[in-house]
Structure formats: structure tokens, C-alpha cells
């Protein structure tokens, strides 16, 4: 009797193992589908909360209504988890058909691996006409386009006008000295001057990027993307600038374990709840802040000013850090359906809805007319005036070097390293991958 049970258990176990193995291989067949007839695609984006998530849900629904043969399965993935998950999924051949594309070295790695679809021939006339060629440029390589831009995200300092007024600060700081003055006044008024989500590393590193943008020439920044060598003295100088700034203790208490975007204790949450006065961030920040205010509405007294200028330095004082967010199709995706979707989401009405949902600047020039928040108008004007807009350095230099750069900046802020360590760690990381 017991023997029979054992045999049955063994057979059950073998069966279960076989099922698990079969389950692993079945997944990849389900995705894709032919160009004719019914098509199912998967779509990964990084809007896990509030109106942003709702925007993608309703846009996908509208698309499916217009193209009844196409079904899109949408998955929202927390921003900090997205890049790692995406790389693993693409490597395993089981990646999404449509996904957020940040550009730079990260995109280069995907192109080199043959993971991205060349969409050059499929961009609609409407999209070509309404999106500036300069915006597309970030997604081009060797004359081919690999992603459809969705939003321009220039970087600057977001601040609370009320807190600035309470602290007695007039106007907005334009130089580092003025910024340091403002920080002293804000401290005296009893709020944290600057919130930074160092737990996610990149928000802290953005301070370094901007000092590097001021210290280094355009040629140096772009050259390093190819050589991945950081031997120009301007890299160290930028680190020293950050060290000096850090000595004034501008950041919120416990910034090392502060996240960037999750919850009221995050850096965006501190600004949204008037616990901190400033945050250096790209132009997606108003949307993130809006989702974290007590009433879930955009922060009424939010303002924006460009990163202050420094004395000396080889960078143009009007240069900006900035990214473009867009979407790519995977090489395996059904071409027509996927590019239809990319063209669909940059149409004027969808871009206007994008602005309303994310509080960010849409790429469609016609849709930019609806941007009425004055902080975004200021940011947009500065962006259009900037002689050089650099991609965020971690994206520009790829996942490996970018990550090392980010964490070494956090080390510096925490007092565990200095300007030279940023350069040496970053150089060393290049040897790991």
C-alpha cells in the first residue's frame, strides 16, 4: 500500500516537473503573433500610480477600439526596477513588445544585441511634422530611428514658492553663491533646504551631472560616451564642486535612505508636503509631486529654475541636462501593430492628455500649446534656448558605468569617498563589463 502511494507521488512529481518545464517554454510563443489577423502585444511602462497609470490604460483602450484586431497587455513596472527587469526579459527572449526607451548607452546596448526594431520607415507623416528633428536625434543611430519620443524632460530645480517666500528669498538663485545663500535662509526658517532621494542613487548623481555639465565641455561629455574614460580634469573638478556644496549640509536628514518617488517620505514627497524646499529633478517631477500631495492635486506653489552657474568651467552656462522619454518596439514585435501604436500615442489629443496626466512637456509641438503651468513654460523656454542639452549621464554612459557613477556620487555625499574616487570607481567599472 505504501509502495503504491510512493509510486504515485513519484509520478506526480515527475508530472509537475514536466509541467513547470513546459510552462517556461510556452510563454514565449504566446507573445507576438502574425501581422495579419489578431495580434497581441505586451507593453511595459513605468507609471505605477495615479493619473499616469490611468492615462496609459485609457490610451491603450482607445487604441484597441480603433484597431480592433490588436490587443495590448499593459504592465506597469516601478521605475527603479524597470531597467534591470527589461534587460533580463530581453536577454531571455521573452521581453515586452513595446517598452519605455531612455536612449543613450542603454539603447546602444539593445541595438548592438539586435533587440530593437528599426522604425525609420514607419513613422507617420503626422509624427514627423509635429515632433522636432532634434527630439528624434536622441533615438537615432547610424541614420536609423529606434524609438518614438513621447516627452521632453529638461532638468532643473523644482521649488516651493511659499517656502522660499517664508524664508525671505527674493527671486530665484542663478549662481552657486546665491543658491548657498538661499539654503542658509531656508535652514533658518526650519525646513530642509534640498530633498534628495539618494537611496535610488541617480537623484543624488544628478547633482554631479549638473556640476560636470558646467565644468566639462560638450566635447568631453560626448567623447566620454564613446571612450568611457574619465581622465579629463573637469570630472574631478565637478566632484570637488559637489564636495564643497555638500559641506554646507544642504540635504534632508537621512537622505541616504530616502527614496526618490515612493511615498510621502520620498524626496518628491518631502517637496509635495512642504517639508523640503527644493529638489533637483527632470521635468517628470511635477507629475510625481502631484501624486504625493495631501489632496493628490498638483502642488499649487511649485516653481522651477535652471541649475545655477558656477565660476569658470568649460560648459556653456545655458546648457541643460535633459532626457527624452519615448517608447521602442522590440525586434520581435509585430511591426505594423507596434508602429501603429507608437504613431497613435504621439497624436495631438493623446499628447494633450499626456500633459494633463503627467504634468510633463509633450513632444508634439501642437500639443505643447496646452502647457499652461508656468513652471513648465519656464522650463520649456530654457530648453528651447539651451545651446546643448546633454542626456542624463547614467543613461548616456550605459547601465554598467552609469550605475558605478551614480553610487560613487552617493559615496561622496555620505563622506565615504572624494572627487577622485568618483573618477577611479567609474573607470574601474568600465573594466567589469
Amino acid at each position: 500500500m505504501t509502495r503504491k502511494i510512493r509510486a504515485a507521488a513519484a509520478i506526480a512529481l515527475i508530472g509537475a516537473t514536466a509541467l513547470v518545464a513546459a510552462g517556461c517554454s510556452a510563454g514565449s510563443d504566446a507573445a507576438g503573433g502574425g501581422d495579419g489577423g489578431k495580434v497581441t502585444m505586451t507593453f511595459w511602462h513605468n507609471s505605477t500610480t495615479g493619473p499616469g497609470k490611468a492615462y496609459w490604460a485609457s490610451t491603450v483602450k482607445a487604441f484597441e477600439k480603433k484597431y480592433p484586431d490588436v490587443t495590448i497587455k499593459t504592465q506597469a513596472i516601478q521605475n527603479e526596477d524597470l531597467d534591470g527587469k527589461l534587460q533580463t526579459a530581453l536577454n531571455s527572449g521573452d521581453g515586452p513588445d513595446i517598452f519605455l526607451q531612455r536612449g543613450g548607452g542603454k539603447m546602444d546596448a539593445m541595438i548592438a544585441a539586435g533587440q530593437l526594431m528599426d522604425i525609420s520607415g514607419s513613422i507617420s507623416a503626422d509624427a514627423k511634422q509635429s515632433i522636432s528633428a532634434g527630439t528624434f536625434a536622441g533615438y537615432e543611430k547610424d541614420g536609423k530611428t529606434y524609438a518614438m519620443p513621447g516627452a521632453v524632460l529638461p532638468e532643473g530645480i523644482w521649488y516651493s514658492k511659499d517656502l522660499f517666500q517664508k524664508a525671505g528669498i527674493e527671486g530665484t538663485p542663478t549662481t552657486m553663491d546665491e543658491l548657498n545663500d538661499a539654503i542658509t535662509k531656508l535652514k533658518a526658517s526650519g525646513v530642509d533646504p534640498v530633498a534628495v532621494g539618494a537611496k535610488d542613487a541617480w537623484p543624488a548623481a544628478h547633482w554631479y551631472y549638473n556640476f560636470a555639465l558646467r565644468e566639462c565641455s560638450q566635447k568631453t561629455l560626448e567623447g566620454a560616451a564613446k571612450s568611457l574614460k574619465f581622465d579629463n580634469p573637469c570630472w574631478t573638478k565637478a566632484g570637488e564642486q559637489l564636495e564643497d556644496f555638500n559641506k554646507t549640509k544642504p540635504f534632508n536628514n537621512g537622505f541616504l535612505t530616502t527614496a526618490a518617488q515612493q511615498g510621502a517620505g520620498s524626496s518628491a514627497g518631502l517637496l509635495a508636503n512642504h517639508k523640503a524646499a527644493m529638489e533637483l529633478m527632470g521635468a517628470w517631477d511635477p507629475g510625481v509631486i502631484a501624486s504625493l500631495t495631501p489632496d493628490g492635486k498638483p502642488l499649487a506653489d511649485l516653481g522651477w529654475f535652471p541649475f545655477p552657474t558656477i565660476d569658470g568651467g568649460k560648459g556653456d552656462p545655458k546648457s541643460m541636462m535633459g532626457g527624452v522619454d519615448g517608447n521602442s518596439c522590440s525586434a520581435k514585435a509585430p511591426k505594423k501593430a507596434c508602429t501603429d501604436f507608437l504613431n497613435f500615442i504621439v497624436q495631438k489629443d493623446n499628447q494633450e492628455a499626456y500633459y494633463k496626466a503627467f504634468n510633463a512637456i509633450p513632444v508634439n509641438k501642437d500639443a505643447q500649446a496646452v502647457v499652461d503651468a508656468d513652471y513648465l513654460k519656464t522650463a520649456l523656454a530654457a530648453y528651447q534656448e539651451a545651446p546643448f542639452v546633454s542626456q542624463y549621464l547614467d543613461t548616456l554612459y550605459g547601465q554598467n558605468v552609469g550605475n558605478a557613477l551614480n553610487t560613487s556620487v552617493v559615496d561622496l555625499l555620505a563622506g565615504k569617498g572624494d572627487a577622485k574616487d568618483i573618477v577611479s570607481t567609474t573607470n574601474q567599472a568600465a573594466s567589469k563589463g
Binding site: E80, T257, T407
Partner: protein
């Protein structure tokens, strides 16, 4: 009043006899008729072993042995994970690992956690186990409470503690409220104290497991020994010192073994509390978080595999040395050849 410590091996005698009587085709000749039935029985046994062990062996080979082999293979390449690896670099990944200051500090952190877990948890767990072994009111409830943290998932423990220990969190507010505002600290984000915070959380989480093990060990000590010692006039502390501790030895050694291996492979709590990036800055990074940060998060799958191999070798070496020198007596006859 000395107790022969050879009693300490009592629990293992069961397995000794099992190993001793296992049929291994002894030399005694058998009558011809019984020989063929014996042969059929042998085959039956083999088939049975194959059928019963087969699935487990397949799963073990597929999910343990194969990945270890693949990691060793990938570790010799620079590989971003796209397509098959092509850029063979020999031992270069290993050279970089051992030259990396971040890895050296990771080893320090792991070593610190291994030693301090033993030093902190061991004595406290023994005292708790002795206490909970006494007959008293509410013993069952206290036992459950001590064991609860071990049952809660690491993610929940990590999230809960990291919320409470934030700079503006409950712990600091509590200290303030108790008039101990001077003790407020950045428990998680100050690199000087973060690892101590981690140690406290680990102890809180895993001490229940040690206590349960020790309680089980205490149950197996024969009551007569205590009675005899008491009749001989031994005090409570003498009894604990001369009887309980020596007889609890095998349990303590096994617990220490599990604790060391767990400390070497610590990952989840650190990853939950300090996230993907800043564990090394906070001074709480472990070999496993180093592997994830420099392998997966950075997209260097070849380098990450090499780190995995190093971690495997270190854990294996520690485990073997411990088994050879510390657990030798406890496992004699079960895992090793019988000497006598």
C-alpha cells in the same frame, strides 16, 4: 562531578547503526535458490531507488548543479547578457573582484555579521531557551512570541523596520517622547551605525529559530542527570554549566553552522532596507548584494557570475572546514567513515 562528554554523541548513534547494518553484498555464500531471488530483489531495489530518487536528482541537477556550472563558465567572459558570451577574458573578472575595494569591504561586512551573529544570538538564545524550559505561566505564549519574527517574511520585516527606523520614524519619535532625544540617530543612513542596526534586526528576526533549536536540544537531555546532580548537591548554575551546556553542544554546533551559512549568504534584508544601490555606502553590503549590484543591476552578467562563483567557493570552504573540524564528532559515522 564530571560527566563523560562522550554522552554528547548520543543522538547520532541511531544513524550509526543504520549505516552499519546497510546491506552491501557481504561475503557469506548463499544457497543457489536464494541467490536468484536475491538478484531480483537487488534489481527491484535499484529500480525503486531510481524511481524515487530520480525526480529529486533531476531537479537538483537542473536547478543547482547546472547553474553552478554555467556560472563558472560565464565567469570567464565579459558578457552583457545579450546572446551567447564571446569575449573570453580568462581570470580577469576574478582579478578585478579581488582588487575591488568594494569587494574587500563586503568581505569585512560578511565576516562581521558571521561573528557578531554568533556572539549576540548564541548567549541570548541559550538564556531564553533555559528560561522557556522552566515550567511557568504563559510559557506557550512567550514561546510563540519569540518564534513569530522568524515566521514573518523578510520583505515585511525589512519594510517594517525601515519605516520605523527612518530619521523621522517611530523609533526616533519614541526616544524623543521618552525624554531620550539625545539618542536619536540616523539608524539606517549613518554609515557608522547602519551595520549595527542591521545586526539588531537580524538578531530579532532569527533568534526565535535558535531558541526553538535549543529547546528541542534541552528536551532530549535525560531528566535523571539533573536529578542525580541535584541529589549530589550541585547548584542550578553548576548543573547548567556541567550538564546542560555540554549536552547541548551538538545542537549549538549545528545552529552555529546554520547561522554562519545564513550570514555568508545574507541578501534579502539588506536589499529590502537599503535598496539596490546604497548598501555599500551605508556599510551594510554583503557578497550577495555586491553580486546583484555589480552583476544584474549593472548588466555585467559575466562579472556577476564570477562573483557568484567566488561566493560559492567561500561558502563551500567555510562549510567544509566547519564540518571537518567542528562538527566532526557530531557527524561521525553519518557523513564520514567510521574511524573505530
Amino acid at each position: 562531578m564530571t560527566i563523560d562528554t562522550s554522552l554528547g554523541t548520543t543522538p547520532t548513534t541511531g544513524s550509526d547503526t543504520a549505516a552499519g547494518t546497510s546491506p552491501t553484498g557481504s561475503g557469506t555464500p548463499l544457497p543457489a535458490g536464494r541467490r536468484s531471488t536475491r538478484r531480483i530483489a537487488d534489481w527491484r531495489k535499484r529500480v525503486e531507488i531510481a524511481v524515487l530518487a530520480g525526480p529529486a536528482v533531476i531537479v537538483f541537477v537542473t536547478f543547482v548543479i547546472l547553474p553552478v556550472g554555467m556560472a563558472a563558465y560565464y565567469g570567464f567572459y565579459k558578457w552583457q547578457g545579450y546572446g551567447p558570451p564571446t569575449d573570453f577574458v580568462g581570470l580577469q573578472n576574478y582579478v578585478i573582484i579581488f582588487q575591488d575595494k568594494a569587494f574587500q569591504s563586503v568581505l569585512m561586512h560578511n565576516g562581521f555579521i558571521v561573528v557578531m551573529s554568533l556572539v549576540l544570538q548564541g548567549p541570548i538564545a541559550i538564556v531564553l531557551a533555559l528560561l522557556l524550559n522552566q515550567k511557568m505561566h504563559g510559557r506557550g505564549l512567550v514561546r510563540v512570541l519569540v518564534f513569530v519574527p522568524y515566521v514573518i517574511s523578510e520583505v515585511i520585516v525589512g519594510t517594517g523596520w525601515s519605516l520605523m527606523l527612518q530619521s523621522n520614524g517611530a523609533v526616533n519619535d519614541l526616544l524623543q517622547g521618552m525624554g531620550l532625544g539625545g539618542l536619536r540617530a540616523d539608524w539606517l543612513s549613518n554609515p557608522d551605525i547602519a551595520i549595527w542596526t542591521l545586526l539588531v534586526i537580524i538578531s530579532w528576526k532569527y533568534i526565535g529559530f535558535a531558541v526553538i533549536l535549543f529547546l528541542a536540544g534541552l528536551q532530549s537531555i535525560p531528566e535523571e542527570l539533573f536529578e542525580a546532580a541535584a541529589i549530589d548537591g550541585a547548584s542550578y548554575w553548576q548543573i547548567q554549566r556541567r550538564i546542560t551546556l555540554p549536552l547541548l553542544g551538538p545542537t549549538i554546533r549545528i545552529w552555529a553552522f546554520l547561522s554562519i551559512i545564513g550570514s555568508l549568504q545574507l541578501f534579502d534584508l539588506v536589499y529590502i532596507i537599503w535598496g539596490q544601490y546604497i548598501a555599500s555606502t551605508a556599510g551594510t553590503s554583503t557578497m550577495a548584494t555586491y553580486m546583484v549590484a555589480n552583476g544584474r543591476t549593472s548588466g555585467n552578467f559575466g562579472f556577476g557570475s564570477a562573483v557568484a562563483v567566488v561566493m560559492f567557493i567561500i561558502s563551500l570552504a567555510v562549510a567544509l572546514i566547519y564540518q571537518r573540524f567542528v562538527l566532526r564528532r557530531d557527524t561521525a559515522g553519518a557523513l564520514t567513515e567510521r574511524k573505530n
